[in-house]
Symmetry: C2
Subunit: 203 residues, 2 copies
Amino acid sequence: MVMQMTKMSIDRRVARTRDTLHQTLMSLILKQGYEAITIRDICDTANVGRSTFYAHYTSKDDLMRSGIENLRSVLVDRQRAAQANPGDIRHRSLGFSLTLFEHARDHIDLHRGLVGGGTVALGIIRQILADLVRGELAATVDKKSEGATPREFVVQYIVGAYMAVLTWWLDRGAKPPPTEVDAMFRRLATDGILAHLAEGDRS
Amino acid sequence: MVMQMTKMSIDRRVARTRDTLHQTLMSLILKQGYEAITIRDICDTANVGRSTFYAHYTSKDDLMRSGIENLRSVLVDRQRAAQANPGDIRHRSLGFSLTLFEHARDHIDLHRGLVGGGTVALGIIRQILADLVRGELAATVDKKSEGATPREFVVQYIVGAYMAVLTWWLDRGAKPPPTEVDAMFRRLATDGILAHLAEGDRS
DNA sequence: AGGATTTTGGACTTGATGCCCGTTATCTTA
DNA sequence: TAAGATAACGGGCATCAAGTCCAAAATCCT
């Protein structure tokens, strides 16, 4: 029979295989870290033929990429909610921060695997955040206020700082609760480090 | 003859080998990126037996690590010079910024290879910067002004932001000159993003 | 010059990748 | 529920890099 053009309901076997592969990858990340994982490992653990793996994904990175995309939707949703809320610019901006801190705390093992692991996951998350921040800046800042600092510069600055802080926080076992790290990050980002340094040292 | 205890002048063969290996690694980074380099590549290009490589280093990362340490001294030196200079806290702090931007511009190919390449180089540079910033904060901030924000949090924040900005800048071909990016970074870091956002949008 | 040390190059093992293909299991749909 | 389509299996195969080892040759140091 000819394939229907718009959208075929996905074969259950395909769905099952892909699902299993994703879950297995995650569990292996927790167990041995991303880098150390081999495609053999994944297939063996998942009870999936290696040929089958290659029928769906071209590499470990490919599997990872495809599996991490749902994180984006979570963040985007919450972001939208935060944007809708009225409030001072101080509270309205950087909406992803608390969300991601909390998500990381709730799935701490997974996130530790991600950050501890390869560049791939970090890169994807980085990109997702960059998109969010970019959108936020576009909605927040006035078009005419274009200063000497390129928009993208600010985006990279914020995302870089956030990723570093998130990683550090996870490495320490997510010690201070999300709301607190969130507050620290926001303050640092919006007010700058001068406020921190000069507190007891205003010359 | 018995080995002298304190310090033996290094065998010329050893020095030559190690030197060649380092230079070769760098040139290969520029040509094909760090990740894609194989130990075979290095040895072939360097005209060094593969056995010899393993007699000196245990891995590609090992070679990289040992080779990048001189960058540290460059930065540390300039940092010291900057620290000695009198001046407002705004100019005295973040001394590494301009230095590294300039170094990156002068060795742009190398730096592009580094950042474009593996996690290793980035990690090392990150660590070097973290040490610098940590030292700087310790010298700058008053002990008693310890706020709710851990010192290390600020360090990670700054370094993360800087690395991201540096990478972005290099990817764009180091377009705005070092002094300008440096100024942008400093301003963002010390004054925060609020100053930027609110410029034309003070509600 | 001569003993010490390094370099060499090739052989060997191990293990991962990626691909192929005939067989078997499972799904879809009519 | 039976038939035809499709996916999964699994074993084999070629390729390549990582490491290790060793005897012979080259180079260095004093």
